[in-house]
């Protein structure tokens, strides 16, 4: 997936733990981990808005684009 999630970096800058962010945003730690490790397929605008609000940042601070293959996670194992 060429979209990278920079949650780690932003959390480090804010000195905030993943658990604390999960509590504030109202997303489970499991889901935030999926987002942090780049396994997520999509992010809801509502989640993105909540993350930006709690981390006091812009969507561009959390997401970046790096050219690369668009690996389709969803086709794994099904066929």
């Amino acid at each position: 997936m060429p979209i990278r999630v920079q949650l780690d970096r932003v959390l480090l800058e804010r000195r905030m733990s993943l658990t604390e962010l999960a509590d504030r945003v109202g997303v489970t730690i499991a889901n935030l981990s999926i987002l942090k490790t780049g396994k997520a397929r999509a992010v809801r605008f509502s989640t993105l808005a909540a993350l930006c609000k709690e981390l006091d940042c812009q969507p561009g601070d959390l997401l970046s684009y790096e050219p690369g293959p668009l690996d389709d996670v969803l086709d794994d194992g099904d066929d």
Partner: protein, 180 residues
């Protein structure tokens, strides 16, 4: 209709699952009975004297001896048919277990539905085979009508299409799981 829940515990699905459980047990009893009968038939075919005494007891004279291949063939067909139905019911039980858990688009349901479709087609083919065999072994006495059932093949196709619908459902479910 909204009062009746289709999915989850205590719903129509769980009621149907109970019925399927009962049918599943009954089918195993049926399979056991047919297996015992086949075993008995095999033992008797090794010992022709016993066949004679049984036919004497039955009072049919040499009727059973003449029809021996038919009896074994009939038992074999019954065993095949029961096995096919057992495969279908076993897969249906697994599917209904996922419905009870409120997770209808479980990825495994795709292959389960495909197996059900194949088994339905197989059962229909067995029916044709039984008709042909009975017409060959018992000319003029066959009671099985050689009707080509469009409904059966239609259901096979519908089940295969449903399997693909479930595949799409499973894909969407996975996508939803990975949407944060």
């Amino acid at each position: 209709m909204r009062l009746m829940r289709a999915l989850g515990p205590g719903s129509v699905s769980s009621f149907l699952k109970i019925i399927l459980d009962v049918v599943f047990v009954a089918l195993w009893v049926g399979v056991g009975s047919v297996a015992l009968l086949m075993l008995a038939a095999l033992l008797l075919s090794f010992n022709p004297d016993l066949i004679g005494s049984i036919t004497m007891n039955v009072g049919g004279g040499g009727e059973l001896v003449k029809k021996w291949p038919v009896v074994i063939g009939g038992l074999f067909a019954a065993a095949l048919y029961l096995a096919g139905v057992l495969v279908i019911v076993a897969r249906l039980r697994q599917i209904f277990a996922t419905l009870m858990a409120g997770d209808p688009f479980h990825p495994d349901n795709v292959s389960r539905l495909r197996v059900i479709g194949l088994a339905l087609g197989g059962l229909e083919l067995i029916r044709y085979a039984v008709w042909m065999a009975s017409a060959w072994l018992l000319p003029g006495q066959t009671k099985v009508e050689p009707n080509f059932s469009l409904t059966a093949w239609f259901s096979v196709l519908v089940v295969f299409v449903l399997a693909e619908v479930f595949r799409e459902g499973a894909r969407l479910r996975r996508e939803a799981e990975l949407t944060i």
